[in-house]
Subunit: 347 residues, 2 copies
């Protein structure tokens, strides 16, 4: 026993119903915090920042010091995996820019053998962070899910229509499966290394799960996620896996039933009645609209209460339904911490 | 009787199951067609193009001549309504740009009294188009649904996070309701004018229905849509209304049950089993991934057959799940027309 069971986050992820919901926020370490912006200025670029353990660990710890969330989430980026595979990556004003891979030749140039060594700094970040965390605070590791990582690798950045990545998958499903396999294997190794270094739960971010028809969702979201969960469970049976298929909509049910994840992250559009039904099978996490946190005031108070009323009767981790907006006043996060520290007065 | 009941599209929208599905494609008039690009070059800007009846009618008719769809959809833009309300509108490289409205002062400057006269050219387009359409081809009118139109009016264009429009709605629901009311009333008048000019069905495009939590979805998607449908049904009881709440996911069911629309447009992510269940209450329309039409070949053939097998046993209109991509080879639309002209061989 590592004493993990005393951490509220891990108890909720194990299926326990707690009297006060554990909480953390996606992108809780980030640009809305002045101390983050000061720290970020110490690195020449975003990739270096992520791969400098002292800086990334400090970024991970900053929100915990201010707000005392029940979990820290490793500061890193889902695109470190393609970068470790050898794909060129830079972050510009408009977001990430990668040299797009659109055929077998591009796939052949990826180098799976370097992933572990290139991502070793992330494991050092995990060790440094663990040493700095309060005893009851869990550390969550993460990776992008293969479909979402593949969208960036093929599109070369963000996309409106996903026509390159879907086009690849529709035109040449075997070739695309080879890319998904490479990402899947790299992701298993990467998450295993994070766990060995000290993360106590992992989250798979499938940010673009919500753009696929059902047959493609089965092949590129559900199947690779199943394989990652199975591989991790074989080696680390007690480490919970949170799946976050953002925007999966009517396919959330299948994702929850088939992937094997312990807990499911809910985006902002998921109705609370549906979320409650999902709790029968495991913990749910979510799903406050980040814009409500930005707005604050009575609208925030009301929405937080509605979510708690609906979901606190089952295993539940309070979170946003998407990442915190950079425009969010830090005081609003403080107000949320205060709201969540109080017991719920049910009407 | 206008003879409307002999048009396949209108029969399907009225709930009839046809032996061959009527079809049309969102954005079937548009940049993927060389004849459209030539026509478009005759107007100095996109708004003028939409408001020049001879050009807009010709754009509407072009795909019908080439491919013989069962319906033409009026060539126009959902942002003509804000423009008619007095908001500045231009189309740049990156899409529409509006002078954003973010408070009561901005709302007060909108002028509802000019909407009819400013949109009169669209009615002339309807009359010209009707005169040029084959006898069995229906003409569909359309407008943006209030929530989607409001997102553009408040954000000032496309958005990644909808923080301005959601922020307005969360911070000042009464003020935001005033904006929604103005759009709702203008939309009723605009669609009524289109119907009087000759459109035989109307579609409400709620392209950004999929970004709201359930309570906001009720207030800003369902309620205004209900009001528009009720107002139109009072005046034009036999004209079908198609609702397209793109990305509504788990809220599709409520939209279908509560808005009163005759038929429901399904985006690409809606599972066919769910679509089949919806057919109990009325026609469904959709939902081929536009990327499959761009890719063509065996992947297109297979996906079309899967959709037909699932949905032809009930009232059904074949369409895409989103607008046609400009990169689509016109020959692929021809191949689709050919596929849809053949009876389905059920396995």
């Amino acid at each position: 026993m590592s004493g993990a069971e005393t951490k509220p986050l891990l108890r909720a992820l194990a299926g326990e119903t707690l009297s006060r919901p554990p909480w953390w926020l996606m992108r809780q370490a980030g640009r809305y915090l002045p101390e983050y912006r000061a720290l970020r200025a110490q690195a020449p670029d975003f990739v270096s920042f992520c791969l400098t353990p002292a800086l990334a660990a400090e970024a991970t710890l900053q929100p915990i010091r201010r707000f005392g969330m029940d979990a820290a989430i490793l500061f890193a980026d889902i695109l470190l995996v393609p970068q470790a595979l050898g794909q060129g990556l830079a972050f510009g004003e408009e977001g990430p820019v990668l040299e797009p891979i659109r055929d077998a030749v591009g796939i052949e140039q990826l180098r799976s053998d370097r992933v572990s060594s290139r991502l070793e700094p992330v494991c050092e970040t995990v060790r440094l962070t663990r040493a700095g965390l309060p005893e009851a605070t869990a550390l969550i590791g993460f990776a992008g899910a293969p479909w979402t990582v593949a969208t960036y690798m093929v599109e070369g950045g963000a996309s409106k229509d996903y026509r390159h990545v879907k086009g690849f998958a529709y035109r040449d499903p075997n070739g695309f499966a080879a890319l998904i396999d490479i990402i899947t294997n790299a992701t298993v190794n990467y998450l295993a290394a994070q766990i060995e270094a000290g993360v106590e739960a992992v989250q798979l971010f499938d940010s673009w799960a919500g753009v696929l028809p059902e047959p493609a969702f089965s092949s590129w979201v559900i199947e690779p996620t199943q394989r990652i969960v199975q591989a991790l469970k074989q080696r680390f049976p007690t480490v919970p896996v949170i799946g976050f298929p953002r925007g999966a909509g009517l396919l959330y049910q299948r994702y929850a039933a088939e992937t094997g994840v312990d807990a499911i992250g809910l985006d902002t559009t998921v109705p609370l009645s549906f979320a409650r039904d999902l709790q029968g099978a495991g913990a749910v996490q979510g799903n406050l609209d980040p814009v409500l946190l930005m707005v604050g005031g009575p609208a925030l108070t009301k929405a937080v209460a509605e979510i708690r009323v609906a979901l606190e009767a089952g295993p539940f981790v309070f979170n946003l339904g998407h990442g915190i907006l950079p425009q969010t006043p830090p005081e609003h996060v403080g107000a949320l911490a205060e709201l969540l520290s109080q017991p719920l007065h049910r009407r």
